[in-house]
Symmetry: C2
Subunit: 136 residues, 2 copies
Amino acid sequence: MSTIRGILETVLYADDLDAAERFYTGVLGLQRLGEGSALMRTFRVAREQVLLVFDPSVSEAAGRDVPSHGSRGDGHVALLVEAGALDDWRRRLEDAGCGVEQDVTWETLRGRSIYTRDPAGNSVELTEADIWAPRV
Amino acid sequence: MSTIRGILETVLYADDLDAAERFYTGVLGLQRLGEGSALMRTFRVAREQVLLVFDPSVSEAAGRDVPSHGSRGDGHVALLVEAGALDDWRRRLEDAGCGVEQDVTWETLRGRSIYTRDPAGNSVELTEADIWAPRV
């Protein structure tokens, strides 16, 4: 039986796509794909992994050429950084004026996470390992 | 400079987590991690990729041990399936009573996608290739 083999598109929503782009490219260093539009911005994260940020007032409209969707409220995403890089990332976020809302060392999971917010208020977690993997 | 190397956690929201679990495990065949709770369900999709489904009424509460978040409205995710498997997936969704809302062969991107909805109304796309990769 065929299986799901990965997540290609992870989605967040933001009313101000230009501000979102400044955060995801300028602060987090992701690569924007294409020119962007009033609908969305696309960012390459890894092979077969993109982050899409939509303006919900546009993406929720009926009659688009693909199914409509759109959420309000703070979403969440967790991004993987290189092992040992979280202290650098913490400084980088602070230098960019992005507060670190929380810095957690997991007891039940493995590893450590720091949390910031994108300009739309989405909770963005940076972590250096698959904290969901079984502990060995 | 350290780079983001992947998306570990992709998030959707659902008021009925049991219904979400039946869809993501029973229809899509994902593996649930842990027991789940009133807050969330966790599903393993691939190495270093999990799908988290939260009840927004719980995850948005203040005073949790991690930053709060929670969205209302239909989200979106795109999942990768094996090449050539979309017809099988279409049958599998239909057999499970999940309608295929749209079946798109991309002209500007590469590949084909089918779209269904999870029980909460989130738009779930299945596609067999990285439709965002440059065309060669």
